[in-house]
Symmetry: C2
Subunit: 345 residues, 2 copies
DNA sequence: CTCCTCTACGAAAGCGCTTACGTAAGCGTT
DNA sequence: AACGCTTACGTAAGCGCTTTCGTAGAGGAG
């Protein structure tokens, strides 16, 4: 902490405005019990002195913090940085500061980070990013979060269930179904799903949706190979390489997030496969660049920034008697990366 | 703050290990003056109780914080989120937490945010993002930062000069020169620069570099129009629209960041102009998607994450007697969005 | 054996705020 | 006029730590 030469304290403001420190505190924090005239006098004095409350002292005394903690998998990933953007903007409006940590999708690091946020007595914790299908992996996190919540802490998650707290949940399954229907509607039948690790609930849910559509179209799940790779651009490239070898006659690729889809486009281009001429590609998320790719990426739009903001809103609200769930609609956005199956043109 | 039912306090640890609270404090924070045997006993007790120090109390008492503040223009922007990623990762290694704020490139909001970080007594402040050419716009920021630094606060900036503090500075000018030379080397002479507002020093520096190259090639600055727009994808699109009307014979576009370049590619494609066939396009920054665009974007690589990490390192170091500057090399990365001028093939 | 120097520890004073509690004044009742 | 109620403010007790200062005991020097 900077011992700013003479950083004014509350007592200085109190003296300057001729009131007690208690009254000054009340006036500045808007606690009732101060006449308007006195309150204004205090605020004036504070302004003139350039007084700003010491956050730590305030937190220590009041037992509450204006800081909210945000845990993401990787802040450099557009999906998360857009969520963070929504959180930061809304938090700023509420005069709250945001402490961000990223975990590199490591479940242990995740628990670690949450623990440290709890220790730092943040006012609320926001957790963004998929959970894990495997309950035993998810358990420590769930425990930590529950303990915090039961002790009165506020938690909200985005894109994650099974944690027993308020959540903002994108329609992953309906979204998956929607893209798949779109692809099927274009006549594609030799389809491949390019997927992140099936350990992630997000992946599982989206895949579920895709399978719903396939089943509805009378396709067997076995007819549609699922290529699994890292949930990143590189993962997308890798899956396409495998696809070109193992499933060369594929006409459509359903990638389960935009990152992978971008990798798919990249690798298909390098391999001289035209999109959507020979192979159609779809993504999921609608990250900002999706529309500027060439071809523009057909994908499912998730309002990431809004999701972040809504999670914060939930966390800031009085806790309900039970965990609230807000569904966020996923909207199919058709662009140029998908087209009718080649033979059918 | 969560009044965790029985969140153990230092005094609990002290009692449990049969020492005074002072000794317990010293043992846990590693302050000398405690025998090894006692220290170990205390640590053991702390572990058993699940004790974690209250950050606010510690900060209040000690006058220093483990939190570092990071100010960026817009966290949703890949340039900044990649910098943030570097900062977060390194901070985690040092056991420091990071508070991020974004300002929407609004100089006033920027000062505001810095002020609030100062008020919150963060341990160090990192500021990422271009400054403003206009000294009068930059002055309040400079003042705030200087005041903080003089009071002993640690500040480091990335991609920004004129603030009189430690800085990590990408080679914007040499980088600008390098791309421009590359474009010129391909035979282009009817060139347009697509630029963010010239108010930004980053833009000005890169443009300077471009002009260096043009001059060296015997071109007059007047021969190369500079189209100014928002420093975003949409800005890039907008500039291309103007270019197609006002400078229809252009064969190469030098965009001063990747975001704009991506917008340029997008608009050129919509307008049916082939890249690099009819028009070459280059960017600047090498954000992660640049390589996955179609065509892959020729650009200038800046190691954003590393820049963030280096700024943090500077801020964590003992302050030097004078402001340190670290130059970060900018490396030309040639991909497919640039090619020889059409007629010359 | 006394004096002095270290070392290891405890007592207690804050850090800058919030807030429970006390009190004096103002006002309406009866 | 006495009583209670409300409002507006002051007093002071912490919040959970760090750190200064003081002291007891061990050990060495004389």
């Amino acid at each position: 902490m900077v011992r700013t030469n003479r950083s004014p304290r509350l007592i200085d403001v109190a003296h300057a405005s001729g009131v007690s420190i208690a009254t000054a505190s009340r006036a500045l924090s808007g606690t009732p019990g101060v006449s308007d005239s006195v309150a204004e006098k205090v605020r004036q004095a504070a302004r003139e002195l350039g007084y700003v409350a010491n956050l730590h002292a305030r937190s220590l005394a009041s037992g509450s913090t204006a800081t909210i903690g945000l845990v993401v998998h990787e802040i450099g990933d557009p999906y998360f940085s857009e969520i963070a953007s929504g959180v930061l903007s809304l938090a700023a409006e509420h005069g709250r500061t945001v402490q961000i940590c990223h975990t590199g999708r490591d479940p242990e690091a995740e628990v670690e980070q949450v623990r440290s946020l709890v220790a730092n007595r943040v006012g609320a914790i926001l957790i963004a990013g998929s959970g894990f299908v495997d309950a035993s992996v998810e358990a420590p996190m769930r425990l930590e979060v529950q303990r915090y919540a039961e002790a009165g802490g506020r938690v909200a998650v985005v894109g994650r269930h099974h944690l027993g707290v308020d959540s903002v949940l994108p329609d992953n399954r309906p979204g998956g179904r929607a893209v798949a229907e779109h692809i099927l509607g274009l006549g594609h039948r030799r389809i491949v799903v390019v997927s992140g690790t099936l350990e992630l609930t997000t992946v599982a849910d989206r895949l579920e949706g895709v399978r719903d559509a396939l089943a509805a179209a009378g396709l067997d799940a076995g007819d549609v190979p699922v290529l699994e790779g890292p949930f990143t651009r590189e993962g997308g490239r890798e899956c396409i390489r495998r696809m070109l070898v193992d499933h060369p006659r594929t006409t459509a690729v359903i990638a389960l997030n935009d990152d992978m889809a971008i990798g798919c486009l990249s690798q298909l281009r390098s391999s001289g496969v035209s999109v959507p001429g020979e192979v159609s590609v779809s993504g999921f998320d609608d990250v900002a660049v999706a529309q500027d790719l060439s071809p523009g990426l057909t994908t499912v739009r998730l309002p990431m920034a809004e999701m972040g903001a809504r999670a914060l809103t939930l966390a800031l609200k009085e806790p309900g008697s039970r965990a609230r769930r807000q569904r966020v609609p996923a909207e199919l956005v058709v662009r140029d990366s998908t087209g009718p199956v080649a033979g059918s043109v």
